[in-house]
Symmetry: C2
Subunit: 201 residues, 2 copies
């Protein structure tokens, strides 16, 4: 402890911050939880949290055990045309769920989410905080939030069929195969008329 | 017991057949399991299994605690143009996951599937036996199986966001809202070029 009663960085500090962050994000949600609150509850200086995690988003990604690269994706997408942005999103998402380390974290989270309200809240917050917000900005439709959430549903479902249920046709597909089929569907979600199939041929 | 050593129908017989069916479908898969094998293992006449469940598909639906109406949907779809067939599929699927009784069965299965190989196999068999086969016939593409599996991933993901994670925009949407957005995406999966977004504008 320093003279102010705040912990300096020690080997266990990072883990302690993450435990506090998980608890706060899960109980209060992402929006209502500030980096400062977490620093206070973990009895560390907010600057130390920034030092370890860079930002509140980075802290959240750390609490979710997500690779920082997924968060960078949301920033990179902003400067790309919608088709390329969506292909990047789908590809990075698949890279995350396919990598051994991240896949285990994501699957553990999905496992927990279906039986545990805390984990369900964490995953909901992640979808809202990152993916949904990033995609909502991509459509001018009044039901943008619903469209973005359906894209998230598609991506969550792919992880479940690929790595939990291991349905052959999705489990054995290359990432390129999946990107080629899934990206146009995401664009359709973001830009399609959304009035069913009646308008089609 | 009858003189042949086979059980006649008694109040507990239906449940006993279902327990045997669950074990067989899960351990050997849907294709490799015959109605006759299950009747034999349950020590009942195959005619009694037909009497209770109508067919192997009906027995499987019973073992999964699925409403028979979902199976009828696959038959009804065969006579409809693709757009209407897909709208019917999405609507019936949502009716199933939204009904109290079926929702609990489906969610229990998803919960089990993420931590239990037997349940995962049951769910994979269900997707293969019913939905995938029904949708594969709807596309002439060489990657039909993959396209159908991605539709299944979309529908599984919607159930997870709507009823497990309860993401607001999907949880609060009416079935009409969801059908209007999801059905065109399913058609895109079945009929789209599948070469990414490069071919678009």
């Amino acid at each position: 402890m320093s003279p102010t009663g705040r912990r300096r960085g020690t080997p266990g500090t990072r883990g302690a911050i993450l435990r506090v962050a998980r608890r706060h994000f899960a109980s209060r949600g992402y929006e209502a939880t500030s980096l400062r609150t977490i620093a206070g509850a973990a009895k560390v200086d907010p600057a130390l949290v920034i030092h370890y995690f860079g930002s509140k988003e980075g802290l959240f990604a750390g609490a979710m055990d997500l690779p920082p690269r997924l968060l960078e994706t949301f920033d990179e997408m902003a400067s790309l045309p919608v088709g390329e942005a969506v292909e990047l999103l789908v590809r990075r998402y698949l890279e995350v769920v396919d990598s051994d380390r991240s896949r285990n974290a994501v699957l553990a989270l999905v496992r927990s989410a279906v039986s545990n309200e805390t984990a369900a809240t964490m995953l909901r917050e992640f979808l809202s905080a990152g993916m949904l917000r990033s995609l909502e900005g991509r459509t001018q439709r009044p039901d943008a939030e619903r469209r973005a959430a359906l894209v998230a549903a598609q991506l969550v479902g792919i992880a479940v069929l690929r790595h939990v249920l291991r349905v052959g046709a999705v489990a054995s597909a290359t990432r390129d195969d999946l990107v080629a089929l899934v990206a146009p569907v995401v664009v359709q979600y973001l830009e399609g008329p959304g009035d069913g199939c009646r308008s089609g041929p």
